[in-house]
């Protein structure tokens, strides 16, 4: 029997929100707040990272418009004052690292309830269309104001054995 507890989507999105707010000083922002909860994300640019336990798999991350991703990338790299856009590779790297930091904070918050959870590597989200929710997936989204930015935090949950096969 797994040592993991079942953690709800709401628990995960709240942990993700708190972990993101904890990053405000690192990004040079005074703070932030959750402005509302959404059923699914409406933005397309961003990244997510898998978090896998013995009983389920989650993806957590964030999406935003392209200008906000640039702002966040510059903030992470200490380049906010330049207002110069990062190149595609540098932006992807910065966004990937940002979601990595976020995931570390989330893991710290849920490790007592999910002792088997492990982090994967960041995955950039495609910006060419809506994020599709497929069978056996659930999603929760929270809009977060962080300094001057407005991002959408997302949590996907996948059941590892939804059909109960043996």
């Amino acid at each position: 029997m797994s040592a993991d507890d079942h953690v709800t989507l709401q628990d995960w999105i709240e942990a993700t929100a708190h972990a993101t707010l904890d990053l405000a000083p690192t990004l040079g922002y005074p703070g932030g707040r959750v402005t509302r909860f959404l059923g699914r994300p409406s933005e397309h640019h961003g990244a997510c990272i898998p978090m896998i336990s013995d009983i389920d798999c989650w993806q957590i991350g964030f999406v935003a418009d392209v200008d906000t991703c640039q702002e966040l990338g510059r903030a992470l790299l200490g380049m906010r004052s330049t207002q110069r856009d990062l190149g595609p590779e540098d932006l992807a790297d910065a966004i990937g690292e940002l979601v990595n930091l976020l995931a570390g904070g989330v893991k710290t918050r849920i490790i007592d309830r999910k002792p088997t959870v492990r982090l994967g590597l960041p995955v950039l989200l495609p910006a060419d269309g809506d994020i599709r929710i497929v069978r056996h997936q659930e999603v929760r989204c929270a809009e977060l104001q962080l300094g001057p930015t407005l991002t959408q935090l997302i949590v996907f949950r996948h059941e590892l054995d939804p059909d109960g096969g043996g």
């Binding site: 990053l23 690192t26 690292e97 930091l101 570390g104 590597l121």
Partner: protein, 119 residues
Amino acid sequence: MNILIVDDSKAMRMIVSRTLRQAGYGDHAFQEACNGAEALDSIKESRPDLVLCDWNMPEKSGIELLQDLRASGIDVTFGFVTSEGTMEMRQQAVDSGAAFFVTKPFTADTFQQALSSVI
């Protein structure tokens, strides 16, 4: 002193370098590697004095790198700089021979506290 910074993120390697300078370690020489496999080759070739390494990387993870180094008899001073800071990982790091464990995000003060005993 030669310091090797190992992280698959170019952004994080830059942040580590910058923070090391802010912490007063700017007089040392910095080298970089983007994963554990590349770092292992670099360490065997150039024998840095200190390795600052991420944990979760493609090709070879940080903990795998450390274990390979110790198994090869290479006792370079090694520390982790990682976004995950669970007690289990910290213990595994110590058991494998790590000298320190820094959790991201970090500050110059964090580096000073972690590195003061090794530099």
